[in-house]
Subunit: 484 residues, 2 copies
């Protein structure tokens, strides 16, 4: 969807949000006034209210019309449900589709819920097939059936293809807006062909060269068309040693190729060598952003992105799995302490010191895991260097154990004037930090071996082990050396 | 630096890493054999060793030559120091600069440390001025002086400009490889002008239209040059309502513009309306990736990206500030418990249950903060909706307090058959979760008001409060209601 000329670009979308909020407030003010005066009023008054009402909505509509779909999406996301739907009502129907593509999943759901089957069908039909595929999971089945019927045979094929790839594959990032030419024509011919387009598809930095059977031969950068003489033949200029993505390949890998080679677009070629689509850098950018957000959310145990104005009930559910898991591990740790109740009864100081041992090891293990998960994601961890990394992390935890364990030992000694307690404290810290390093490396590496994403769930497991382990080591050592 | 034709693109850089490792191993094997036979050997043997030795290095050199600089950078990052330097030695000198630009800061340091002043000067001189500015902080002063002398007056001006912008501003992302034309010429003239370039600068999706004083007038997408008739005048086609970045603007904002508007390049225009440079999507991609990595590292309290093969000492230092801070807050929490020693002595069960109260509230507060920090970053939090968000998070924590606090209370009751203990447990959970929600929202919002990055340091402060607060609330309630 190219809309270069139609809408204003803006450096600061915040300003527009403020203006929209201002319009909504004026509107709300009229509403409040209208509702408050419940006593019978003369007709003139009522009419005035209605006019004001309409004027504000018209202003809002005008404002929205000049905004880029991405900016409207931003504004919708930043508004509470009631105001969001009021703004959504004022958006021109023919832009609904573009905006639905841009908003976050959670907000999209709230918008789709208010639209009729007819509205949804109209909005969806205006989109490219790859975009329809993105919306499909959120649309009611009957709408999708209608949309499918309205497509041409080629488009149906594309839609079916786009929907058949898994969410994390190159196929899911792919679009079908590629321009292709044959290798035996001249640049002159290519230029004439291109001039038949009113506008080239977005991100057309290169056209793809294919043979009669749509088999991919190479790419011809637009820049080369521009800087070379018109009589040059495509075959002589085209680049053949270029990246080819496979539709089943992991999207993460494609993203890495875009980053490494500074690509703007890349051809997607299937097993038989046929050109099936292309991936463009803007989609990759969105993908990378979404990935990094998922990482941050998962680290805090949030299952998915939250609409900040979702209901309390919905938000709470998003957070529950994690809290439930943590509660279980906390119960377990609590029972570990429970089995040392006799020891604690005899020496209460232990109860004050034990959280230190558990906490610091948890922090340190978390650092180790972050480094390892990142190295695994970058592909820097191999069997060849795994042992080396393990030894290094153990050495760091040993060093940390001596330094911070030593300080904690002194802290314990000065508080309770008991040398043995200080020594138990230091050794427990040293041991638990070492345990933390072992699991901090071990968990993500095992997860990777099992083919699971090491970024998900590693930290609950980690904290469970450093907590319970820390309590066990500290109270265990204390039972042996301090209680006779 | 355009190297489209020279080096192989690769979908799986891992394979190349394996091949390089294999070559290095063969090489190392020869070395070991040579070193082991310390008894005198006949000359023929020694010669053979040397030949083998040389052959492997030659193979390695060949292998490296066909790789893209970004892939060599990847391989260097994945190798331990000794092997890394061996590979670095085999890289052709004229590619040093491009590779230094690509590697991570930590690895760059290790490579630069082995290079002579002369080598560094040569490597740097081959780069564009914006790239030299990127390397500058890592280069010795005398090298930078040499490089500066070798530049033209224009380039010196560019370098000075590039280095004058702060690291997180648009100026730091900018390059100077823009093509500009006047608005009163025809596309024909533009095409002829462009044909004088052997190759257009990377990511030239548009040329910039300026007047005689370099004042920015608009942009002319290359695609429009291609699809329009040659006699059309630039002024008629150019787009004027287009994004303009300011060099002092925050880089994050520019990145958001690229994401929202799917840009490939954007002009950078100064206060006086002069075109000073451009930003391209590949730089934005790197910037976004780096930002998201910094976020993940900071969350685990890692000050900076670590070279995974850095020395134990260096890695430990990267992690110390955070651990030291956490140790301090743990000491404080420990003293909070310490002030209730009498209570614990009378009722040891409290010691087993208190970590549950502290832990779950910490997790829940962390979820709240993650959502708020993200919303702040997206610009969705304003004074208008802050109260609304606060109320929502308090409601969620209340709900969580009743649900999970209730379960924890039952857990306590079934273990110790004490109804009062169960009630104390539930109320403490409820109160501490509420406290967690308050600080989970409050801390990032206050940090933002103070103009600081809310993502840094929020979590230490948060955990400190939910830990100490949890112990205080739970043990305090217990002292009041359980101990007579």
């Amino acid at each position: 969807m190219t809309e270069r000329n139609e809408h204003h670009y803006t450096e600061n979308v915040q300003d527009h949000l403020q203006q929209v909020l201002h319009l909504l407030e004026k509107h709300a003010l009229v509403e409040t006034v209208t509702h408050r005066q419940e006593l019978p009023r003369d007709e003139r008054h009522e009419l005035l209210d209605k006019m004001l009402h309409k004027r504000h909505l018209a202003e809002l509509r005008e404002k929205l019309e000049e905004l880029h779909p991405a900016d409207i999406a931003f504004i919708l996301e930043a508004l509470p449900i009631d105001q969001r739907l009021m703004v959504w009502d004022q958006v021109k129907a023919d832009r609904d589709g573009d905006i639905l593509i841009e908003v976050s999943d959670a907000v999209r759901e709230s918008l789709i819920a208010t639209m009729s089957r007819e509205e949804l069908r109209e909005a969806t039909e205006k989109l490219d097939t790859d975009e329809i595929a993105d919306l499909a999971p959120d649309l009611p089945q009957n709408v999708m059936r209608d949309v499918f019927k309205s497509l041409s045979i080629d488009e149906r094929e594309q839609l079916r293809a786009a929907m058949s790839y898994s969410k994390d594959s190159v196929g899911a990032l792919m679009d079908f807006n590629m321009v292709h030419v044959r290798e035996d024509v001249t640049l002159e011919v290519v230029s004439r062909y291109l001039r038949r387009f009113e506008e080239l598809p977005d991100h057309t930095d290169q056209v793809f060269v294919v043979d009669r059977d749509d088999r991919f031969k190479g790419v011809l950068p637009i820049n080369l068309i521009v800087v070379n003489e018109p009589e040059t033949v495509v075959g002589k200029l085209m680049l053949t040693d270029t990246i080819r993505l496979n539709p089943d390949e992991k999207a993460v890998q494609a993203a890495q190729s875009f980053e490494r080679y500074d690509l703007v677009s890349a051809p997607v070629v299937d097993e038989e060598g046929k050109l099936v689509g292309r991936v463009t850098v803007n989609v990759v950018l969105d993908f990378i952003r979404a990935e990094s957000e998922t990482d941050l959310l998962n680290q805090a145990g949030l299952r998915e992105e939250e609409d900040i104005f979702a209901s309390v009930w919905k938000s709470a559910q998003n957070r529950w799995t994690w809290l439930a898991l943590n509660l279980c591990t906390a119960f377990f740790a609590s029972r570990v302490i429970g089995s040392f109740e006799n020891t604690i009864e005899k020496f209460v100081a232990l109860a004050t010191l034990m959280p230190i041992v558990a906490g610091i090891a948890g922090n340190s293990a978390n650092q180790t895991t972050t480094i390892i998960i990142r190295s695994i994601a970058l592909g820097q961890v191999s069997q060849a260097n795994a042992r080396r990394l393990m030894i290094k992390e153990l050495a760091i935890s040993g060093l940390n154990g001596l330094v911070w364990g030593g300080i904690a030992g002194l802290f314990a000694y000065f508080l309770y004037h008991n040398v043995a307690l200080g020594l138990v404290m230091t050794s427990a810290m040293l041991l638990n930090l070492t345990l933390g390093a072992l699991v901090g490396i071990g968990i993500p590496m095992i997860m990777q071996k099992l083919g699971r994403d090491p970024a998900i769930g590693s930290s609950v497991l980690l904290t469970a082990i450093t907590d319970s382990g820390g309590f066990f080591i500290f109270l265990g050592l204390a039972t042996i050396f301090l209680i006779r």
